[in-house]
């Protein structure tokens, strides 16, 4: 498994998805070697000691019986950092990694190029080296940066490659696609591909992949015991929550335009935008320009308990994404008993019934539905109760079982 991000280093949906799927595969008894790019040496939390005798480049225990974690030094990160805190952190990590890597044994010394192409190439070489000493039947690569590595290993070892697309270049960049990224994606997708139905259409139409090669596997969501809202949502003010990266793909400006319309009808509403990204400053400016700066609160990137708290104070979660291959966040919102409104251009919209759905560009309709949820308690209650019931049905074990079937088919074709 060529994956991304393992706890406690998760920053977004891709990491959550890789981790959730891998854990479920473990529960189904599927042996996995998880290759993880790490800029910094991994330091485990207390209680998870590094087993003695294990070197930097060897395995780490994961707390799972069938999963071994194999970190390799690389500065690849799944999301492009924005012009904000995230970016600074990323640059910091990059410089740290440089020194860490340089201090390591000769064999691990990484000389990575100044740009992403060199880094992707270098990552592939590292993975090939790791693959020489591993036994496996299938290579499973997540998103484009790992595709060249997947293809190289598949060719070298004569094993089938399964790629999983969590987002395409079209999701991330709209029509302004990066040709280099597109080419890699296109090449990778001509192996078997696993996505949502929404992305499946993009892959068939935009990448020319034969439909029979594109399988749909929905993401799951993990329910952890304490899901009831501990803080009652009382008080005169209603809260509408946006939680996600503040980037073009996530549609933050549509959220703000709709907020403006809502405030024309109701004054007792607050809007919370939680997240970082390259459109953060522009969004803050936009809120000010719309004259609703005093009603919109920007929290920056939230972690752990703060995420829970954000959900607990919310009366409605809105995901106005311009293009969202799946969208785990709405399921997490429902886990916290928050009703959801999602854009129709998302994987979750096609697979989920008990959510409100709008076109991301339809500001009026988005505002109309926000007002309805805030005004009519029966609507809010049904979306919450029925939505939560439905969200419980998105289980990672089901995704893992589908993945297992796809592996079997891929192996039988080889």
């Amino acid at each position: 498994m060529l994956g991304w991000e393992f706890p406690p280093f998760i920053s977004g949906g891709l990491g959550t998805a890789c981790y959730g799927l891998t854990k479920a595969m473990d529960r189904l008894g599927m042996p996995v070697t998880f290759v993880l790019p790490r800029a910094m040496p991994i330091r485990f939390a207390a209680g998870e000691e590094l087993p003695s005798g294990m070197e930097m480049s060897e395995y780490y225990q994961t707390g799972m019986r069938h999963v071994r974690l194999r970190p390799i030094p690389s500065t690849l990160v799944p999301y492009r950092p924005g012009e904000s805190y995230g970016g600074a952190q990323w640059r910091h990590a990059k410089s740290q990694a440089g020194s860490a890597l340089l201090e390591g044994p000769e064999s691990q010394r990484a000389i990575y190029g100044p740009d992403i192409r060199a880094e992707v190439h270098r990552y592939a070489l590292q993975v090939m080296k790791v693959a020489e000493s591993e036994e496996f039947d299938v290579i499973h690569a997540h998103d484009w940066m790992t595709f060249p590595a997947g293809i190289a290993v598949a060719t070298m070892r004569g094993k089938p490659l399964v790629v999983q697309v969590h987002s395409t270049e079209f999701d991330r960049s709209g029509e302004h696609v990066n040709q280099y990224v597109y080419d890699i994606e296109r090449q990778g997708m001509h192996a078997a591909t696993l996505v949502s139905n929404y992305t499946r259409n993009i892959i068939i139409n935009r990448y020319g992949v034969p439909p029979e090669k594109v399988e749909v596997v929905y993401n799951g969501v993990e329910f952890n015991g304490h899901t009831e809202a501990s803080v009652p949502r009382a008080g005169p003010d209603k809260t509408v929550l946006f939680l996600g990266r503040v980037t073009m793909q996530k549609g933050p400006e549509y959220f703000l335009f709709a907020a403006k319309r809502v405030l024309e009808k109701m004054s007792n509403v607050k809007f919370v935008m939680a997240g970082d990204g390259d459109m953060l400053y522009r969004s803050i400016e936009l809120a000010a320009n719309l004259g609703i700066g005093h009603k919109v609160f920007f929290t920056r990137f939230l972690r752990g308990d703060d995420v829970d708290r954000a959900y607990q104070m919310a009366d409605l979660y809105v995901m106005p994404s311009v293009s969202e291959p799946f969208g785990i966040a709405p399921l997490e919102a429902l886990q916290h008993n928050v009703p959801v409104l999602v854009s129709k251009t998302s994987g979750i919209a096609e697979a989920f019934r008990n959510a409100l759905k709008v076109d991301f560009w339809d500001i009026n309709e988005m505002a109309n539905k926000m007002v309805a949820v805030l005004r009519y308690p029966p609507l809010q209650e049904m979306l919450r109760i029925e939505g939560r019931k439905e969200a419980l049905r998105f289980r990672w074990e089901d995704s893992a079982a589908r993945v297992s079937e796809i592996y079997q088919r891929a192996m039988s074709i080889m």
């Binding site: 409100l356 109309n368 309805a372 029966p378 049904m382």
Partner: protein
């Protein structure tokens, strides 16, 4: 003796237009869509079916009889969008072999929330039947065959009715057969006719189902099933949505051919005949009292109210709707009153139903909305506007 008693329900709602919280107009209805659907159903069902029944009545010289319950709001729409259908109903009425039943003018659930409004709508519909077809209905059917003891009593109190129709659900009949005439408790005059749902649904739902063991269903086979009632029943009540003919069961399923041959096949048996509901009430004595303390209807497998009042949104919508009754009536504006009543049509609540998983197909087929949530939001926005209009009209201090 086995009398076949046909009753057809003929109804189309006024569908609402997309109405957001930012809209302020009084134009709540999607006239374009309503016209389109009305014309489409007229072409596929109402016109050919009316023509067929007219032919059959003439061909059998008074021995073939049927009855209709046509809602007031459909008749309004037909007058505007498909007047030929109205003409053919006139022709049918003129044969003397067609009975028109009474129901709530707006196909509403008004009895559940306002018996006074219910009585007004029944009266309005009865008057309309007289004005259009020269008949004063003697038999009542409530919206979606929603029925219980208290509705029967209310209908008897309104007066002028000999019988009321209901679903012959197993749980109200127990071991008894729907093929007899019954009496509601505490009613002195009113008789109760119960739908034979097996034979009715053989035509309405199973007719074109190729997975059904009796497919294909011919008129001769159906007549044999009716014949078996001879000796252990008086009447076979076939209560069917009129849109079954040509709309739910398309013409190419052979449904019209089936109907064309049915009267001949039924009448082959010397003890069989056709009767209208009021003739059934006149001809046969009630054999027993059927006690129905809880509501029954003809919808879905539950045969209860859950298709219209099964979730929190539906309850909230109907509560808000009838809460407006006093201010609407105080406002004294005929247009507002008519709009409020058009919003009472049960279909609006049906669109908010969330029982998709078991009965999904039928609900989806009839639903103009993407989701029940959308339908609730739309409806509540319109109610909100209606309330604002009333408040603006109400005499100072009243609202």
């Amino acid at each position: 003796m086995a009398s076949v008693c046909f009753y057809f329900q003929v109804h189309q709602p006024y569908r609402l237009r997309h109405y957001t919280i930012f809209d302020t107009g009084n134009d709540y209805f999607d006239n374009h869509k309503n016209a389109e659907i009305c014309r489409k159903v007229a072409k596929k069902c109402y016109l050919p079916a009316n023509r067929l029944f007219l032919d059959l009545i003439r061909q059998h010289g008074g021995r073939f009889k049927i009855s209709y319950s046509v809602t007031g709001i459909l008749l309004e729409q037909l007058r505007e969008y498909a007047p030929k259908v109205l003409d053919s109903f006139h022709e049918l009425a003129d044969t003397g072999c067609v009975e028109f039943l009474a129901e709530t003018y707006y196909h509403s659930l008004s009895y559940l929330y306002s018996p006074r409004e219910f009585a007004e709508q029944v009266e309005a519909h009865r008057q309309l039947m007289y004005d259009l077809f020269g008949q004063t209905p003697r038999v009542f059917r409530n919206t979606e065959l929603i029925y219980n003891n208290s509705i029967a009593q209310a209908v008897e109190r309104i007066g002028g009715f000999d019988a009321i129709l209901a679903e012959g659900a197993d749980h109200i009949l127990g071991y008894r057969s729907p093929n007899y005439v019954y009496r509601p408790p505490n009613c002195s005059k009113l008789k109760l006719l119960l739908k034979n749902y097996r034979l009715s649904d053989d035509i309405a739902f199973r007719f074109s189902n190729r997975g059904w063991s009796e497919w294909p269903l011919g008129a001769d086979k159906f007549a044999q099933w009716v014949n078996t009632v001879n000796g252990n029943g008086y009447v076979v009540n076939l209560f069917i949505d009129y849109e079954t003919f040509g709309e739910h069961q398309w013409e190419d399923t052979g449904i019209f051919e089936f109907l064309r041959h049915l009267p001949i096949e039924i009448l082959k048996h010397p003890d069989n005949d056709f009767k209208t509901p009021s003739e059934v009430a006149d001809a046969y004595e009630a054999v027993d009292v059927v006690d129905v303390p809880y509501y029954v209807s003809w919808a879905d497998i539950e045969r209860d109210l859950s298709a219209w009042l099964g979730n929190a949104m539906q309850h909230s919508a109907i509560r808000e709707l009838y809460r407006l009754e006093s201010i609407i009536k105080a406002a004294g504006d005929p247009e507002i009153l008519h709009h409020w009543r058009q919003l009472q049509t049960s279909d609006h609540l049906y669109y908010m139903c969330t029982k998709w998983f078991a009965d999904g197909d039928v609900h989806k087929y009839f639903n103009p909305y993407d989701s029940p949530y959308d339908s609730y939001i739309n409806y509540m926005n319109i109610l909100d506007n209606l309330r604002v209009r009333c408040s603006a009209l109400a005499p100072a201090g009243a609202a």
